[in-house]
């Protein structure tokens, strides 16, 4: 087999796999443009005529935007909190040695081994007892807590590599630890902040189990809960459901294409280091 045929075979195989990967997604987007009877006879291919009615109906529905807004707020706050809290802790471990610091670090890294789902029942009780059921914070705080281990690990690895001479120079000039953290460490760490931030955002945006347990009030629903709610209301009107799903995955796809560098680095790099 010479190089050209080998390469042709390779590309054919790749296209085959790629179409299996994208097929269901395209079918969903196309399905949103079809009428239900058309969907029955033609679930996969392009619609005969592109009816945007389903999409428009959903876009004009205030609930849809509310769900997205809720998710956006929860995810953004989770990112912000994880970055600040995680970086602060990692800075201590990277910069300051004190008795027990290794033990505390190991304690905080225990979370890498714990499956989130194992804690969901007592977490529900805890969130309820703190009066946080049906609040954004009932989702944000546990999410942050569960994201801390990985972010501290990644931050510390990065901070360890920052040149030490910098701190010594700043220190001699009378710069305190806190100020150094704020005005040197953080600005120098934008690559890792972006990586961890994007990773945490995607995780939070896609989270389903925690909002499902914490949020009962429809006004607070995240988009994943809203989507299940929508599916419950429209049951077999697949064209509506597919339009809704397509619209909700659109932000994720656009975000992925825009920030793919960080997403891939964060999702895979994080796992390899962990």
């Amino acid at each position: 087999m010479n190089g050209t045929t080998r390469n042709t075979l390779r590309v054919i195989l790749l296209i085959l796999v790629a179409s299996l990967v994208i097929g269901p997604l395209l079918a969903a987007v196309f399905g949103g443009f079809k009428t239900n009877p058309e969907l029955r006879t033609n679930p996969l291919w392009l619609p005969e005529s592109w009816n945007p009615e389903n999409y428009i109906a959903i876009l004009l529905d205030g609930n849809f935007w509310r769900y997205l807004g809720n998710s956006f707020f929860i995810s953004s706050m989770t990112v912000l909190l994880t970055l600040v809290v995680g970086a602060a802790a990692a800075y201590v471990f990277a910069q300051i040695r004190f008795l027990g610091s290794k033990m505390i670090l190991s304690y905080l890294l225990l979370g890498l081994m714990f499956p989130f789902a194992a804690a969901i029942l007592p977490l529900f009780i805890k969130v309820r007892d703190l009066g946080l059921l049906d609040t954004y914070w009932g989702v944000i705080l546990p999410q942050t807590a569960f994201g801390l281990s990985l972010s501290i690990l990644l931050f510390k690895a990065f901070f360890d590599q920052l040149p030490r001479e910098l701190f010594e120079a700043a220190y001699v000039d009378g710069c305190s630890y806190l100020r150094f953290f704020w005005s040197f460490t953080l600005p120098l760490s934008t690559p890792i902040l972006a990586t961890v931030g994007v990773f945490v955002f995607v995780q939070s945006w896609n989270n389903f189990l925690l909002p499902l347990v914490v949020l009962n009030d429809r006004a607070l629903y995240t988009w994943s809960l809203g989507m299940m709610q929508f599916q419950g209301e429209y049951l077999t009107q697949w064209n509506m459901i597919l339009a809704f799903v397509s619209l909700t995955i659109m932000p994720a796809v656009i975000f992925f294409l825009a920030a793919q560098k960080y997403i891939v680095a964060g999702l895979t790099g994080g796992s390899v280091k962990g």
């Binding site: 201590v92 029942l121 007592p122 009780i125 806190l178």
Partner: protein, 331 residues
Amino acid sequence: MRVPVTELPARNTPALGWKSTMSTLNTPTIYKRNTADRIKKNVVSGKLSAVLILLPPALILFSLFVILPLVDAAYYSGFSWNGYGAPSDFVGGQNYQRLLDHSVFHTALWNTAKLMLVSLIIQMPLALGLALLVYRKTPTNTLFRLVFFLPYILAEVAAGLIWSFVFDGDYGITASILQSMGQESVYVLADRQWAFPAIMTVIVWKYFGFHMMIYIAALQSVPKDLIEAAKLEGAKPRQVAWFVQIPMIKHALVVSGFFAIIGSLQIFDIIIPMTNGGPSNTTHTIVTYLYTFGLSRLNIGFGSAAAVVLFVLAIGIAFFYKRSTGKEDQA
């Protein structure tokens, strides 16, 4: 720890009593420039206040929402408790006994094991094969990589919902394919025999791109001269892959295997929109089981027992993983 701690300055300041207070000033020249006064005043108070300000938020959040709930789970699992008031009806090991006697829990465990097997036997080889095909940096390869990775970033619920359309007996793609072949359409997700294989298909579809990306990163760091040398010796591409590249990325394979196993333990979101554990409780995993039989029926004690089993499995796997990879990982 990658940065070696300089012990010398620490020994010079025994009055501070800290093990290695001066580790940040790790060149003696700088140490000499500072006076003893300044060290005492600034280093100790500066470090102490920095530690006391920067560390507690992480510690409090982590303890409150990660460690404490796991301890609580172990405690609750000894009670028959609906979650209201304080748990008082102590039942000892009864919850665990009920769990072990419950056939649905056996199914859930077996299904979880099946997910692990599918991930290891089908998903990882598939991901490895594709990684070998697209790891070189060319524009088309980048495009394929993005496409293969795309399912991974989609929310599991959304993926589950899309696939429940694909498998729908009236509208779905499988139905229309079967009909075009003159077969009767099958309600895949309502079929006891086919529902779980359908879920496994979706899991492979959703996660193979993640494993592929891990392998690609590893393959790109395999030294080029090794591959060139093998080629000069007359090795065919397949032989290069099998004898040079795959052995060189063994670590990545182990890591991804670990993630596949731990991930299988936690599958939940995909099942809910697809089958919700049905038909007749045949597609539960450990997590959907503890959600369905613990939380939605408010059997907090019973559900906690299932959570403890899940937790023990995860810890057991993590320890096994750490032991088999040795001490190179710090976490």
